[in-house]
């Protein structure tokens, strides 16, 4: 076991700061409100967290590569409406099976991501602007599909059966909600891709120095487009989960979801400049936001105060992030010394 000196300890504590904050919140809320640590509440909490975590995981790749995706909330709305429309209206009057509806909804979502990526890489539109554009386009399209109305009864009727659809959002496996399983699997895969595949390394390299990445033969355009497609795919999935949970598709579903996703990514320590951050960080970020919202509701804090507190937490997190980088730079000499002395011991 490696011996740590004080500098290593400080760095480790700073690295784990999001986890520590999460633990502190969990302890605080369970002490303050007895009903916080009940199976029922934790199940509700997990479902909420799953949704913002799914968006945050998709967003992480985009942000790591130096981009941003503002369209995810609208894509979630559009995806639910496409599925709802296919169930309710059908294709040319013919009813549509669950699998077809789900696949088409996800394909439409991916198309938005493809559009984002293409505009950004081939036409040189700034990511903020391109995805702000598709935020409006996707939302408007969702409203147009039903002229602003809701598609109800997605649990299925005799005329329009939707076998299995609502289980996407409502079923349990081994006592754990299906959406939680989904995010667990997707996040594990995403973390593996980020850390252990050439694609993941390429994403970090592009965010760190795009020119150097290009000169290393990395196909920068292709990688960036893929990050936007994946982000939209996650958003599409979120739209389906929400529609399945509510048994209805609302065209307004997902409004401001993009802000929650960005907040989770930033809370998790991913730099908006790109090149630095992790999937696990974003997961923890999503948990912090979810636990904070849920706990404050349980404590009976006013909805307006909740919004203020959320803002304060985000700003604090980024401030600590900046501080951490400075501390890290200052501790570098001490860290280097501890490493080289380790080496002398080991040889």
């Amino acid at each position: 076991m490696r011996k740590m000196n004080w500098a290593d300890v400080v760095v480790l504590l700073l690295k784990l700061r999001a986890v520590l904050v999460l633990l502190a919140l969990l302890i605080m809320f369970s002490l303050l409100t007895p009903s916080f640590l009940t199976a029922n509440n934790l199940s509700i909490l997990a479902k909420h967290v799953a949704i913002s975590a799914l968006l945050a995981v998709g967003m992480t790749f985009v942000v790591l590569a130096g981009g941003i995706d503002l369209s995810v909330g609208s894509v979630a709305g559009l995806s639910g409406m496409v599925a709802g429309g296919l169930f309710t209206i059908g294709l040319h009057g013919h009813p549509v099976g669950t699998l077809t509806a789900v696949v088409v909804a996800l394909l439409v979502s991916c198309t938005v991501g493809l559009l984002n990526g293409t505009m950004i890489t081939r036409l040189g539109v700034a990511p903020f602007i391109a995805t702000l554009g598709t935020l409006y386009i996707a939302r408007g399209t969702a409203l147009l599909l039903s002229h602003g109305a809701t598609f109800p009864n997605l649990a299925g009727t005799a005329a329009h059966p939707t076998p299995g659809f609502i289980s996407i959002g409502q079923s349990f496996l081994l006592g754990i909600p299906t959406p939680v399983w989904m995010i667990a699997v997707i996040a594990a895969l995403a973390a593996l891709v980020a850390r252990r595949t050439p694609f993941g390394r390429h994403v970090y390299a592009i965010g760190g120095n795009e020119r150097a990445a290009r000169l290393s033969g990395i196909r920068v355009e292709q990688v960036k487009i893929l990050t936007y497609v994946f982000s939209s795919l996650c958003a599409g999935l979120v739209g389906l989960i929400v529609a399945a949970q509510l048994e209805a598709a609302h065209p307004a579903t997902g409004e401001t979801f993009e802000l929650n996703a960005i907040a989770a990514v930033v809370l998790g320590g991913t730099s908006l400049m790109g090149g630095r951050g992790s999937i696990s960080g974003s997961l923890i970020g999503a948990c912090v936001i979810g636990v904070l919202a849920d706990g404050l509701v349980m404590m009976g804090v006013s909805e307006f105060w909740q919004i203020v507190i959320k803002g304060v937490v985000i700003v604090l997190a980024v401030t600590v992030d900046q501080l951490q980088m400075r501390v890290h730079a200052r501790l570098m000499p001490a860290l280097l010394r501890s490493r080289s002395s380790q080496e002398k011991v080991s040889t």
Binding site: G207, N209, G217
Partner: protein, 515 residues
């Protein structure tokens, strides 16, 4: 061995006494005393990490010393910010130029210290007029209209002169030049040297930092050598020679000679025929043809703007050529993208490693393996073991000195960072290695390491094509030299027939300024 500096009529204007600077647990400067004399060039020499930049940051008020104090004209100074230092008359021209590219010349000269009238409006006329005076005094006369061009359109040499003009417009008495010629061609550097002579005659004290020994010998009046944060030698013009400097800098005599081999006359590995390319619409490379044999090292000597960088970029797939055929080992190459070029066996080490080479957020190891990741993946997953083994091998070959390859690449010195970029190029197993200024901003010892490594690679059959604006480097490294000027190859010299004068004359078109 005591080095003695006598009084020779140049008054001491600035004294830094007992300067010590500690970063975390590390001492960057240990009790350094440095005297700056007016009307003279005060040279500061040392390898990367010797403490030169730290000392300059203290003098320019960018950082505060842990202990020690600064006297100006015998009076103590206390700088709280770079602004205080500027007010006292100390100006610094950074190694990485601090020109604001989106602003024009006059705006740059007065950035942060705008002239105002009526208490709130920028006095553009006065700024232009005073900028004109400052530019003229350094031999860079500009029409008033030219001052409205954004400075990003100016050549690097011109931008540097703009920075100098800025210092002069604010009546600097002490001017710090940190590696001022690292990005300049020889001709541009000569303009700078004339400006320095002019400033000296006006009594300005110049602190000059550079790795280029011939420049230091030519310009320097007083010499201070730093090593490991201490002053290890002081001398003055006449009592100092190159051997004296190199010995004190490195603590040992550096062997700059390189084992040579005569490449067998083999088949051409790289053939370029009729290549032309543009830079922002204007022709930059014009109808260039040449070839490089297996194991041959070919140097392109050319000044800034000669088209050398554009030529390499076209070969590396970064720049679409207008015309021309490039064949590698007999196969015609697609010049569409960098990926195509790497696949064909051509890879480029860029001139500016900060901008185009390093990914600061990745570790040393990850930076080196970046171009060759496909080779270490099994079923789509990277094998850390394979990656580490391969990187260790190349790192040893390039003599990268790092305690731990998992540390951030930013913890390395400039010379080692350059070796990292080179190592990355080698990992993609090139047939032809392109190098744009392979030792820019690299200390003497790392330079010798890099030369040796490149030579060894050539012996093993790698073909190398490099550009350089240093005659000495070109002579040391190349088997054959092509002189480039105004986008064309104007002369060719086999290594044996190369003289500095002939090469310099061939590559030097008359000096041009402006966009």
């Amino acid at each position: 061995m005591k080095d003695i500096v006598q009084d020779s009529g140049h008054p001491v204007v600035l004294e830094a006494l007992g300067m010590t600077k500690q970063y975390g647990g590390q001492l960057a400067l240990k009790d350094v005393t440095f005297r700056v004399r007016g009307g003279a060039v005060n040279v500061l020499i040392g390898e990367n990490g010797a403490g030169k930049s730290t000392l300059m940051r203290l003098l320019a008020g960018i950082e505060k010393a842990t202990s020690g104090h600064i006297l100006m004209d015998g009076l103590p100074l206390d700088f709280r910010s770079p602004r205080d230092a500027a007010t006292a008359g100390i100006a610094i021209v950074h190694q990485e130029l601090a020109v604001l590219g989106n602003l024009d010349i006059a705006e740059n000269i007065f950035a942060g210290r705008e002239l105002v009238r009526a208490g709130m409006f920028v006095d553009r006329d006065a700024e232009e007029q005073r900028s004109g005076v400052a530019l003229k005094s350094i031999g860079m006369p500009m029409e008033p209209r030219a001052m409205e061009f954004p400075t990003e359109n100016l050549s690097l040499g011109c931008r540097q002169l703009v920075e100098l003009a800025r210092s002069l417009a604010h009546k600097a008495r002490i001017l710090i030049l940190d590696e001022p010629t690292s990005a300049l061609s020889t001709t541009e550097a000569e303009v700078l040297f004339r400006v320095i002579e002019e400033l000296k005659s006006r009594g300005v004290a110049i602190i000059y930092i550079s790795h280029r020994l011939h420049e230091l010998m030519y310009l320097g009046d007083y010499f201070t050598v730093l090593r490991d944060g201490r002053v290890v030698g002081e001398g003055m013009r006449g009592s100092v020679d190159r051997a004296w400097i190199v010995e004190r800098m490195s603590g040992r005599a550096v062997d700059a000679t390189i084992a040579r081999h005569v490449p067998a006359a083999t088949e051409a590995v790289l053939q370029v025929a009729g290549l032309s390319a543009r830079q922002s619409g204007r022709p930059a490379v014009h109808d260039v043809s040449f070839s490089v044999c297996k194991g041959e090292v070919v140097g392109i000597y050319g000044l800034l703007g000669s088209g050398r960088t554009e030529l390499l970029e076209a070969l590396a797939g970064l720049r679409q050529p207008d015309a021309g055929v490039v064949t590698v080992r007999g196969k015609q190459m697609l010049l569409q993208s960098v990926t195509d070029a790497i696949r064909a066996g051509i890879t480029l080490t860029p001139e500016d490693r900060q901008r185009d080479g390093l990914v600061p957020d990745l570790s040393i190891l990850e930076n080196i393996s970046l171009a060759a990741l496909a080779g270490f993946s099994h079923y789509g997953l990277l094998s850390r073991g394979d990656e580490t083994a391969a990187v260790k091998q190349v790192a040893a070959q390039m003599q990268i000195s790092a305690t731990d390859l998992d540390l951030p690449v930013t913890t390395l010195s400039g010379g080692n960072q350059q070796k990292v970029v080179l190592a990355r190029c080698l990992m993609s197993r090139p047939v032809v290695l392109l190098l744009d200024e392979p030792t820019r901003g690299v200390d003497v010892r790392a330079k010798a390491d890099i030369y040796r490594a490149l030579r060894a690679l050539a012996v093993n059959g790698l073909s190398i094509l490099f550009t350089s604006s240093e005659i000495e480097e070109t002579r040391l490294l190349a088997d054959r030299v092509l002189a480039m000027a105004r986008g064309s190859i104007v002369a060719e010299f086999p290594a044996g027939e190369l003289t500095d004068e002939a090469l310099f004359a061939a590559a030097s078109p008359p000096l041009e300024f402006g966009a």
